[in-house]
Amino acid sequence: MEQFDPRARSDIYGQRINRTSSPLRARSVPYLSIMIASVIPVVLIADVMPLVPPLGFLLLLGWRMVRPGLLPLWAGAPLGAFDDLFSGQPFGSAILLWSLAMIAIEIIETRFPWRGFWLDWFTAGVMVVGYWLATLLASGAPVTSEMLLVALPQALLAILLYPIMARMVASLDRFRLARARKIA
């Protein structure tokens, strides 16, 4: 069979015979990817204004929306604590806001169980803008009009970035469930 089509006995997760997905990878990829996304903005030097949208939060939203039920409801607190170590916000702001975001999505999901991409994007957009505003207030600095103005591109970028993040989550999910382990 493989002589005619090398992918005959495989699907998007790889070969089906004799293989299974690795449980370690299946459990850890969502958490690791969100943590890496929290660290990435640190490497950039932003001396003038906040440049990068909150990548960690966007990826958390992505995992929560694209794969509902994968992250437990309480996952916002430990992941937020990790984000707080690097984000420059006062410690505790992401723990609070990420937990609230997870609860909010859960409530929205029970209210509107049938959702599509556009509704997901709308929800994510509203949440990201709310998060952006809340981080401004919680940053410990007085909020001025100039500060709002320079931070505005960050909010717009975050909204526009959600579809890309959702696609990224989908490909990460394929990697997560890929049949990497050989059954002898």
Binding site: I45, P50, W74, S93, I95, L96, W98, A141, T144
Partner: protein
């Protein structure tokens, strides 16, 4: 996509309990987060060791990024250089001639300075940097403007030390880890720096606005003597910075001072020097008085300094 049906609890007691526990844990997480947020807004340095350890882990990756950044900047600059090489060459030649003359004049002034200082028995003490390091990262998602430095407590860096590039002031060390430190940049909205005009003694405070510019507020209000293009340098008040380091250039005049642009942009620097605190004794005294709640540090002028001076001197504590 509808959520998996397994998450509807139905009549299953187990499912109902697990759903309830999930909400309970998430609510507890939110409460814990708000308590920690209150604590860290009240005591900003409470979690400094935790953050220091975290930044120690990330710093090596940041160093690679910093090297790549400076090299790419050089690469693009050298490509751009080819396009207007001829005219630039001529202009530079002219500038060089003038600069040579000025240099000779400066030598004469320096010699005279030395002679006058020796008459007054003043000693010129060369400031030796504590450490030379790279800026390896920043808090790019937050509205706070902090940067990470690739040197920490192991290199002798302590909180409060000024960070200076070859062009001018970058900021001040806020927290230290073992091999990394967190720097409060001048553009942060909590940063206050006592400055004076380079050519005379008009003193002011340079505060970060949070949008990359500095607000220069004059100490003595009245007719605003500032002009666009004036260079502001550190005045040495407060004890953290040595006097005479370039800070910012005035780009706009306002009622009580001006808006200024930074001289030393952190993103464009390669290496920065961490210098010792200029007058550690003065800083300690001001800090002690501030903690006792008697802001007597600089009550010699009218209204402005008495309120702003302790802020400036103890700005390492309250971020």
């Amino acid at each position: 996509m509808a959520p998996p049906s397994s998450r509807r609890s139905g009549f299953s007691r187990k499912a109902q309990y697990s759903l309830f526990t999930g909400y309970l844990l998430a609510g507890a997480g939110a409460l814990l987060g708000s308590a920690l947020l209150m604590l860290s807004l009240w005591q900003p340095s409470a979690f400094a060791p935790l953050r220091g350890g975290a930044s120690d882990v990330v710093t090596p990756a940041g160093t690679v990024g910093a090297v790549a950044r400076t090299e790419t900047q050089g690469f693009f600059a050298s490509i751009g250089g080819y396009f207007n090489a001829g005219s630039q060459n001529a202009a530079l030649r002219d500038e060089m001639e003038i600069a040579r003359v000025r240099l000779a004049e400066a030598d004469a002034v320096r010699a005279e300075n030395r002679r006058l200082k020796s008459l007054l028995n003043l000693k010129d003490s060369e400031v030796k940097p504590v450490s030379i390091a790279r800026l390896v990262g920043s808090t790019a998602t937050s509205t706070r403007r902090h940067a990470y430095l690739s040197a920490g407590a192991n290199n002798g860096v302590t909180p409060g030390m000024p960070v200076i590039s070859e062009r001018g002031v970058i900021g001040r060390v806020l927290e230290t880890g073992r091999n990394s430190a967190r720097v409060l940049l001048l553009t942060d909205s909590e940063s206050v720096l006592p400055v004076r005009r380079a050519k005379d003694d008009v003193i002011a405070f340079a505060e970060g606005r949070g949008d990359g510019l500095l607000r220069v507020r004059l100490v003595n209000l009245g007719i605003n003597p500032l002009k666009i293009g004036d260079l502001m340098v550190t005045s040495g008040a407060g004890g953290y910075y040595r006097p005479g380091v370039a800070v910012a250039v005035i780009s706009k005049i306002t009622e009580d001072g001006g808006i200024a642009r930074l001289v030393a942009e952190p993103a464009a620097t390669n290496f920065v020097a961490v210098e010792p605190i200029h007058q550690a004794a003065a800083v300690a005294v001001l800090r002690g008085e501030n903690s006792l709640g008697t802001p007597e540090g600089a009550a010699n002028a009218e209204q402005q300094p008495s309120s702003a001076m302790p802020t400036a001197s103890a700005a390492a504590d309250d971020r």
